[in-house]
């Protein structure tokens, strides 16, 4: 059957036959790099138009509908506009950090794509500490925001960056603890192991209520980590104009913008992988007929379907809720989410030891 892993394997065989092993490795790395850059751009474009259409749908509007069929090429036109715009550097800005920050954001978003399984056996790098790698690399994101805020020489940017720093550092804890819940259940940090452990049921169904709690905590924490509303204090446009990227224009702004959307995709992909079975199809017990029909749907469709469902949920948050205040935001994390996820982790550990899950 046609699948991503099939194409990848054929390509690998053909390259191995044609070139020597070193050359093959180099070509494959270049191809992977190009694929990541292409995916980065494509995801950005798709998610921007998706966000605009979802918001239009929620806000009883039509959304973009002029460029291309049903406005689907709007974000392409926007990108073109941003590419030709002048990238201004404000007076008194720290030029090196100011220009470096968007690239750090972009590189972090690209690095995070490595351990994600986009389809069955289709993964750039299935390293044995995949989940730890994701948590570790995603923390670098805050450095780019702090760099941008500090280097802009603008008080709004600085305040946005400081808010963002406090926020991301806090919410990483509960995101990490809810990821740990899955790791405890699975006994492995490797992404492929985690997915294979869900062959007979996704963790959100297998793990009873504690897993559901972990999932909800995870969704809240990643919404905060990616600076999305209702936790978008870093760019709170009604208070700080545009927060940490107030001074950015042109393609430098676009890189922040794209990185934000790609980050949303990545955290949703991680959520789908950990809790909703990644590319695993939906199976119900011993309904063999139903399970066969589900197996027939390609694994990439399952993965992207679940991921885009989570992305939709996060967009739904954004267009429904008002923004929290900074002290309420930190209260929510330190007074509620963190204790809850700590106790939850204890319960999950007990469950894993006693084998209470399915």
């Amino acid at each position: 059957m046609w699948s991503f892993s099939h194409i990848a394997n054929n390509l690998h065989e053909w390259l191995s036959k044609t070139f020597n092993p070193t050359m093959t490795l180099i070509i494959e790395m270049v191809l992977a790099g190009v694929a990541v850059i292409g995916l980065f751009a494509a995801l950005g474009l798709v998610l921007v138009i998706m966000e605009r259409k979802v918001s239009a749908w929620i806000q009883i509007r039509l959304g973009p509908n002029r460029v291309g069929p049903k406005g689907m090429l709007q974000s392409l036109a926007d990108t073109l506009k941003l590419l030709v715009k002048e990238g201004l550097t404000p007076n008194g800005a720290d030029k090196l950090l100011f220009n470096l920050a968007p690239f750090v954001a972009m590189i972090v978003a690209m690095l995070l794509m490595a351990p994600i399984a986009f389809a069955k056996d289709f993964q750039l790098w299935d390293l044995n500490i995949g989940v730890l790698y994701v948590s570790a690399v995603s923390s670098i994101m805050v450095i780019s925001i702090l760099m941008a805020g500090w280097a802009s020489n603008n008080k709004y940017s600085l305040m946005g960056a400081m808010r963002s720093g406090a926020q991301i550092v806090s919410y990483e804890l509960s995101a990490g603890l809810s990821i740990l819940a899955v790791v405890v259940m699975t006994g492995s940090l490797q992404v492929s192991d985690i997915i294979h452990s869900q062959a007979n049921g996704w963790w959100i169904f297998k793990g009873h209520i504690p897993m559901v709690i972990a999932f909800v905590t995870f969704i809240i924490a990643i919404t905060a980590e990616t600076n999305r509303a209702p936790f978008d204090l870093a760019e709170a446009e009604s208070e700080l104009t545009a927060g940490f990227h107030t001074e950015y224009s042109g393609m430098k702004f676009a890189l922040f913008f794209l990185a934000e959307y790609v980050n949303v995709f990545i955290v949703c992909a991680i959520g789908a992988t950990l809790f909703l079975g990644g590319w695993m199809p939906f199976h119900i017990g011993n309904w063999t007929g139903f399970n066969h029909v589900m197996d027939y749907i390609p694994s990439s469709v399952w993965f992207f379907g679940k991921t885009f469902f989570l992305i939709f949920v996060i967009m739904w948050f954004r267009w429904t809720f008002p923004r929290l205040r900074i002290d309420q935001l930190l209260n929510l994390e330190w007074k509620y989410l963190l204790p809850i996820s700590m106790i939850n982790l204890l319960i999950v550990t007990a469950m894993a030891i006693l084998g209470w899950h399915f």
Partner: protein
């Protein structure tokens, strides 16, 4: 004195919010002294949209000057016109026909609903929720359509003339207003579901920006801002004009004094306006829509003062006449100016994010403050 850029001697940073800033809904300039996220001082700077409306009025005739006032508080332009027309009528001692009175009150209340709708949407946007803005505009749009049919304009209606209204109602008026009221009653629950009942929203609004009744009076606050602190100040009840004394409606009072109380006053006021329209829409008396007045109006020598309740509070019009065809001096007592003056008092000690919410609940319209 301090520099307007940089930091104070105590190390607090000074942030200039505005005159071009998304939160100020206009060209208000706030100089905020911040200690971290905590506000130590707010100093509003005015004058960016000062158009000398009072001075302009001195060179315009009593028929003409009414229309300039549409541009003061552009969200309740109809009520501004009403205040001026009332003042001129007081000087001329003209009796306004009953039909014109009913039309004026109907239009006032429609304007009040439209203004509160816009406030609701804009305030939710200040708190970071975009969607309410579009929901509010859906209802506001049908009011604008009604205004467009009868008055010829959607925002600056210019429908009032001394002695009545400019022309008769459009034949569709009653039908359209009833349609609007049905739409409104069908959709009003969405407001509560989307915003009022939201936990995040309530946490942002409750116990924030407390204004006591004494302070509200001493700062000269009026309208929903003062009524949120429990001050009886509805001009429609205290000094009834037109036919307000014959109508059944409640003065909306909340005693909380915080942002949430001010919010609830406006939400409940919209329902009272609907109640007034319901009483009047089927009972518009027949007759003239305008009293007979001379072509050139001359007010007798003297001073005249009237006040009305706009969507934002008490609007006073003070005319000094020397007996000529133009006023000698005009002074407007605008609600926005006094309501803004309270901002520093209620904002001190709260967080930067709450300042935006407080400005939202004060319902500031900058051209009304500056004139």
């Amino acid at each position: 004195m301090f520099e307007e850029v940089g930091t104070t001697t105590e190390g607090d940073i000074i942030v200039n919010v505005g005159p071009q800033h998304p939160a100020t809904h206009g060209v208000l300039h706030l100089v905020i002294t911040l200690n971290g996220e905590t506000i130590k001082k707010v100093e509003p700077h005015l004058g960016y949209i000062h158009r000398s409306i009072e001075k302009m009025c001195e060179s315009l005739s009593y028929r003409q000057f009414i229309y300039v006032t549409s541009r003061m508080d552009y969200l309740s332009s109809h009520i501004n016109n009403h205040a001026c027309a009332l003042c001129v009528e007081k000087g001329l001692q003209v009796e306004v026909p009953p039909r014109a009175q009913v039309i004026r009150v109907l239009m006032d209340e429609l304007t009040r609903i439209a203004s509160h709708e816009l406030w609701w949407g804009a305030m939710a946007m200040d708190l970071g929720a975009f969607t309410p803005f579009f929901h509010a505009f859906r209802e506001r749009e049908s009011i604008n359509d009604i205004m467009e049919e009868t008055c010829g304009a959607r925002l600056t209606m210019n429908y009032m003339v001394p002695g009545g209204v400019m022309q008769d109602l459009h034949p569709n008026f009653q039908k359209k207003v009833k349609e609007f009221m049905q739409l409104y009653k069908r959709k009003i629950h969405e407001y509560d579901e989307l915003v009022t009942g939201n936990v995040i929203f309530q946490n942002r609004m409750k116990n924030v920006g407390y204004l006591s009744a004494e302070d509200a009076v001493s700062y000269g606050c009026s309208g929903p801002t003062a009524r949120g602190s429990g001050v009886n100040c509805d001009i429609r009840k205290i000094y009834p004009y037109e036919i307000y004394d014959k109508l059944e409606f409640d003065e909306v009072l909340e005693t909380g004094g915080d942002s949430f109380a001010r919010y609830m006053v406006r939400i409940r006021e919209m329902q009272q306006s609907i109640r007034i329209i319901e009483q009047l829409i089927d009972n518009i008396p027949e007759g003239d829509f305008q009293a007979k007045t001379k072509a050139v109006l001359k007010l007798p020598k003297g001073e005249f003062y009237t006040r009305v309740e706009t969507a934002r509070g008490e609007l006073g019009v003070y005319i000094v006449s020397e007996g000529g065809t133009t006023p000698y001096r005009i002074k407007f007592r605008s609600p926005g100016f006094s309501n803004l003056s309270v901002l520093d008092h209620i904002a001190r000690g709260s967080k930067l994010g709450d300042l935006v919410a407080m400005m939202g609940t004060l319902d500031l319209v900058i051209p009304d403050i500056d004139r």
